[in-house]
Structures are given as C-alpha cells and as structure tokens.
C-alpha cells in the first residue's frame, strides 16, 4: 500500500483511511494514489479495468490457440514416424529385411555361419526364440541336406519412433533338398526392432 511520507503512522492503509474518510479504504484496495472524489475515481478506474480485461483476454486467446496447435500436432498419428520420416523408415525396413534373410537362410554345412550372424542382428527375446528354433533346424539340415533361402517380399513399418519400430514382413522361403524340386512357402511375420548403437536390432519375432 502507500506508505509514503513521514506523517504515516503505522501501516499505510490505516493512515489513508484516517486522512480521507469515505474513499480511503476503496482506494487502498485498488492501489489508487490519488483519491479525489467519487466520480473521478470511477472514471479513472475504467481504463484499468479495460486494460486488465484486455490483458486477460489476450493471454487466454494465446493460450487457447497454442493448446489447439499442440493438439493438432501432438497426436498418436504424428508420434508415429512411419513414412513421415522417410529416411528412418527406409533404413529400418532395409536393416530388418536383410537381417531376416540372413538368419533364416542356411545350407547343410553352413549353419554355424548363420548362427553367428544371428547374434549380430538379433537381441533379447528374439535371440532366445531363435536359439530354440534353430537347434531343431540344425539337426534337420544336417540329416536331410536341406538348404533354406529366405527372401523378403515386402516389409512395411506399422509403428516407428526414434528408437523402436514395429514391422510387418512378408517372406518367401525356398526349401531345397538335394535331388528334389525346391518348394516355396510363404510366411508373414511381425517384428519388433530397436535402435541400439546406431543399428537396428530385431528384439521380437512373432507370427501374425
């Protein structure tokens, strides 16, 4: 409040009230420095009220527009970078496709190579799943002189963030047994990949 002057005894408000009975308390509330008369005061108050209302209205407008903009921009759709980040999409599709062809292709004498390759592109749950599966495959491959070649027909990214991706992959698998015509099987997989140390690793493989 206004505690100007040496005449004030105690808190400023009390002094004002004492000096100007009738306006004092009101003036103290609105922090007016010059209480003259009633009409004057209310005329003076208008610009302040208007100013305050304008300020509040402007801030509210700004806030509302900003919030609306955020709502438009931060949606589940925009959080998914699939295709919107073309470079990252191409990269994860390429990495995952080549990884799948590598780990699901083997020859009778070369399963060890495949197994070694798997540890470089698979991680976590996918590596465990693969180890279980590949144990059986290795035995069969040795027994039946089986060659498997896997080719990715089409891969699409369903969901992509900075460091994780979900993909749908269509595969063709060609089985060749020595002395027999090759057979082709079609398969589809869902794959979860994670970006670690600048490289996409497959962390989960599921049949759709």
């Amino acid at each position: 409040m206004s505690s100007e002057g040496a005449t004030d005894i105690g808190p400023g408000t009390e002094a004002d009230v004492a000096l100007d009975p009738g306006h004092g308390s009101e003036e103290a509330e609105t922090r007016a420095p010059d209480p003259e008369d009633g009409a004057d005061v209310s005329r003076r108050r208008w610009p302040r009220v208007l100013g305050a209302l304008l300020t509040v209205a402007l801030i509210a407008t700004g806030g509302a527009l900003y919030a609306e903009g955020r709502q438009l921009r931060d949606t589940p759709a925009t959080a998914n970078l699939a295709l919107t980040d073309a470079e990252a999409t191409t990269r994860v599709t390429g990495d995952v496709s080549s990884a799948l062809s590598k780990v699901f292709s083997y020859g009778p004498g070369a399963t060890a190579t495949t197994r070694a390759a798997a540890t470089e592109v698979l991680a976590g749950k996918a590596l465990q799943q693969y180890a279980t599966l590949f144990g059986q495959v290795e035995r069969q491959s040795a027994d039946q002189k089986l060659t498997l070649t896997t080719e990715v027909v089409r891969a699409g990214v369903t969901r992509l963030t900075d460091d994780s991706a979900h993909l749908l992959v269509f595969l063709d698998q060609v089985y060749e047994r020595r002395g027999r015509a090759p057979t082709t099987a079609s398969a589809q997989l869902t794959v979860v990949a994670e970006l670690r140390e600048g490289r996409w690793w497959i962390v989960e493989i599921g049949s759709t």
Binding site: E36, T55, G62, A82, V157, L168, D172, T184, S186
Partner: protein, 188 residues
Amino acid sequence: MARRRTTTANTETSGTTGRRNPLLLAALALVVCAAGAAGWGGWQRYEASHDDAASFARARDDALAAGEQAVQNMNTLDHKALEQGLDSWEQSTTGDLHRQLVDGRDDFARQIAEAKTVSTAKVLSGAVTELDQRAGRAGVMVALRVTVTAPRGEPAVKESRLLGTLTRTSGGWKLSALGQAPVGSTAG
C-alpha cells in the same frame, strides 16, 4: 504524497513532467506481453494446421484404417446376405477394381449362392508401404486370416498376405487394386 498533488486533472493519469507512473508503465508492458502471447499462440496454431508432417501422418493413418477395413470387407461374404455383402465390396472399391466387381457381380453371386459358403476375415496386421498425398495414392500390405465355412465339412482357415493400392476419392480412401503378394517371384 508529492505525486498526489500534481495529478489533479481527470485526464492525467501520470505525472506531467516526464515522471511516468511506474504502475502504468508496468500495466502497458503487461498488455504488450499479453498481445505478444496471443500473437505467438496464433502463430503456433497456424503452423500446426499447416504442418505437412502432421497432415501426412493423418493421411497415412486414414489410408491404413480404410485399407484394412476394405480388405476385410472384400474377404467377408455370407451367401445368405449376398446383396448386402457385394454392396459393401462395391463401396470399398474404386477404379478398375470397382468396375471388375460390378461387371462380374451376377456371375459371382450365382457361384456363391450355389456353393453356400460363408467367409469371414480378420485383419492380423497391416502397414502402409507408400503414400503419395498429392496423387492421392497409397500402397498397403495386410496380413489376413480368412475362415471359409461350407455347408459340409470343417471351416477352412487360411492366412493370406495381401497387397492393395488405395486411391483417395471424395468418399475417402478406397481400394483400386488388391491381390495376393506373389509367392516365389523373388527366389523361385
């Protein structure tokens, strides 16, 4: 106290001799800041609605949703509700595919009526593989489980991999081509 006496005229809200009321200055600054905030908010809002990435992302999700629904429709048919089923096929498609369906409708309806089969489909997963917003075209891949029930025998369950092309129409994204992903074309 001194200031009180200098400000007697109604129109004067601050000192006459260059000594401005600090409260008024602060209030003005506040109003200017508020105006700035409103302007900034408006700019953010404008930017957001003209954000290409956001509209692209929306188009992608719209295309996928429409594509999955269309693929499911195209693999669902009940011989007891043939007309309704074939109408939904026609509603899900546009262009060449739509024309083929319309042309072949009577023959196909006869076949299904004779075979008395009921097909239901469930989309397992789907992804948009390409999207050209300007041309209004999108490519989708969908993994689908189709169950076909004939009057006799067990229902046949088959998983299929489908590739579709969507075209944007005034009624939303519609299938303009649909086919099985070719088997053995890459390594056969």
